[in-house]
Amino acid sequence: MSVVTVVRRAVLWVPDWPVVAAMTEAGLGADVPAAVLHGRGLVAVSAAARAAGVKRGSTRRLAQRACPELAILPHDEGRDSRLFESVAAAAEHAVSGVEISRPGLMIIPADGAARFHGSEEALAEALVTAVAEQAGVECAVGAADGLLAAVIAARSAELVPAGTSREYLAPAPIGALALAAMERVQREEVERLASVLTRLGIVTLGDLAALPFADILARFGPVGVWAHRLASGEDLAPPVLRRTEEDIAVEHVFEDPAERIEQLVHVAKEAAIALDRALLDAGMRCGRVRITARTEKGQDLERVWRTDVGTRAGAFARHMTDRVRWQLEGWLSGTAGSTTGDKGPEPSPLVSLGLVAEDVVPLGSEQAYLWGGVSGADSRAHRALERVQGLLGLEGVLAVAEQGGRSPRDRAHLAPWGQEAPPARAIAHPWPGRIPDPPPATVPPVARPALVLDAGGAPVAVSQRLAVSAPPTWVRLEADPSDERARAANRHPSSGHVGHVDGPVWDRPRPVESWAGPWPVSERWWSEDASRQAYLQVALRDGEGAVIAVLLAYGGGEWRLEAVYD
């Protein structure tokens, strides 16, 4: 930890930011009593709720007893920092650079800004006005030398004269140190330190600052040094200013809503070329491209595509054109998203198209693979797959990954090649009731019908209590579509049909050699796509010596062939 010169700072503090952010997002007025709940306790309480007697840290029930009409909102750190961006942008109307130390707290180097505005009072006034007008949030501004003094000054909206920080801090309780801790882990450490110091009889920051530095270091280590520095009104690091950069993006608004792909091919090409040029002008290249579109119905669609290093050399625009075109085709026809599990958007004409470069790095400093660069074989394979994708369209080539799940079908995750789509379910979760290994090598995309019969030829059923009505003795699977004999046998009157046959064409019955099960799997009972099945592993004799093993599932009174261990 190096000693840095003490910087005069102004601190902009929005009281109860988490609850302010939550109320903004929920569309509640400022006078509504509200609180943010995280885990078992409230982490932030609005002014109206505090007036009604709700305290930070109390449980939901205690809070509701004090104030029955309290709106309890969920905790979301992402929302807090996202919404604070607008406050930071508002503050940047008054000053040139700010450091967001945590959502709700902003640090501004005061010297230059105060000179510009005339005085620190004028600076504070400008900041409060800008934030209230642009972001619609009330805030307090304080200024002092050193971080801790400035943070404490902001809470009471004071301007501490230069050089008096140490005296200003001296009477403050030791617990105030936690205000300068910006991360949760650090805050916990500091709170532990504060409680130890209190028990040692050091109750104010002045007491702490009066202790010899070396003793503090010996007894409390780096946290102690940190606390001692702050309590003495010193600084640890100069503020790091936020710098906003424009996204490298292109946007195209259609004059007429586009509903045919012919209208889009040209636009896709132009947009890709424009993005390529924008990247080149900025001397950058990107690892991913986000394609966004807005439909006539006001729906926003977006997808992220990987672009690989190998395609930088002049081919980027062409490469991107294909991807944009495929994506737009998918959106227009309403097929995109069918393999990724989520529902595809309704087909609708598009009114605008945007491309945003992500993972932007300066040209020439691309990150290669961890071990070595892109090998020739890798780029050759990528090119081959791109060619196949060009032949068959976006969903013609699929990338596979393993994901969590119980049935073999659920455990496979398929996504169009090159599209960023993380697996939907974590493998690490326990997945009780998962079908045990070895996994089957053939998993039909849709379960096929099957018949399980007992020795007398009657269908076998599995009861609610997982009792098999009779030991399975025969299994009939669907016949191969090219099997003329099975088809002819099925048409024959002796099979019980007359004339046209609607149902599946059954193959000949195969005797069951051995079987195991039933294994119950009841999934997602709380949702629409609930499934309750019983699985059966069956080994079937097939001709002389050959045995085929299959996985059958029973649900809703019917058997289905889930997988074949071939």
Binding site: S375, A377, D378, R380, A381, H382, R383, A384, L385, R387, V388, L391, L392, G396, V397, L398, A399, V400, A401, E402, P408, R411, A412, H413, L414, W417, P436, D437, P438, P439, P440, A441, T442, V443, P444, P445, V468, P471, E513, S514, W515, A516, G517, Q537, V538, A539, G545, A546, V547, I548, A549, A563, V564, Y565, D566
Partner: protein, 233 residues
């Protein structure tokens, strides 16, 4: 000036060597490039997984995956064309690197073009059973594979395949009458080589949890484990 016999001979040798370099007619150069193969399959393909070969596999998707597994683990790319029901988890367990596996599940009428592009770019191409490929397409694919050094593993019959593997029988362990679970199996494979003469029957322990992995091409422990069938297949 008349050419001497020596210069003519030297030119002829050079031309022959050039042809051999390009086409690879001599046994030694043709033998050399192989892809890694799982030790379990040493008995099935004692000469290894040669680049440029076509291997026809009938009746076992697991065997197709096992053929591609070791190569994929060692950095090869694999494409599965026309296999919409390929078990992804089984592929991963066999050792295929899923990041280097691409599925082309429904090539439809473009099967020949898609398979050709895959043969150009990938090291191992798995072809499904019901692809719209004519005999001429297949011949073209095979020669393209020879040229590019790819291996085609085709499900079903393939006229002129270097090796034809047929799963003639499998024995599963671990299932009872309503209890147990599938644990392991012995797959009996009939191996017919185009220029190998006799067909052989090999039993491969696939999917075994504790099955010993056999290395090398030594004499099998159980007599009669590998036995020759009479006559060429």
């Amino acid at each position: 000036m008349a050419e001497t016999a020596e210069t003519r001979l030297a030119r002829a040798r050079e031309a022959l060597a050039g042809v051999q370099r390009r086409v690879g007619t001599t046994r030694e150069t043709w033998d050399a490039p192989t892809l890694p193969l799982a030790p379990v399959l040493d008995q099935v393909l004692p000469q290894g997984l040669r680049r440029g070969q076509v291997i026809a596999v009938a009746g076992s998707t697991s065997l197709m995956l096992a053929l591609a597994a070791a190569a994929s683990e060692a950095g090869s790319w694999t494409a599965a064309v026309g296999l919409p029901s390929l078990g992804v988890v089984a592929a991963a367990r066999r050792g295929l690197e899923l990041a280097r596996l691409a599925l082309v599940p429904y090539p439809g009428a473009q099967a020949a073009a898609a398979a050709g592009a895959c043969v150009d770019g990938m090291d191992v191409v798995l072809l499904g059973p019901r692809l719209a490929l004519s005999e001429a397409d297949r011949r073209r694919l095979a020669s393209r594979a020879r040229e590019r050094g790819a291996v085609i593993v085709a499900d079903g019959a393939w006229t002129g395949a270097h090796v034809t593997l047929t799963a003639v029988g499998s024995r599963w362990h671990g299932l009872g009458a309503g209890d147990g679970r599938l644990r392991g199996r012995d797959l009996t494979v009939r191996v017919e080589e185009r220029r190998g003469g006799t067909a052989r029957l090999v039993t491969v322990p696939l999917d075994g949890v504790g099955t010993p992995v056999r290395r090398g091409t030594g004499v099998p422990a159980v007599p009669g484990h590998v036995r020759a069938l009479g006559g060429a297949a």
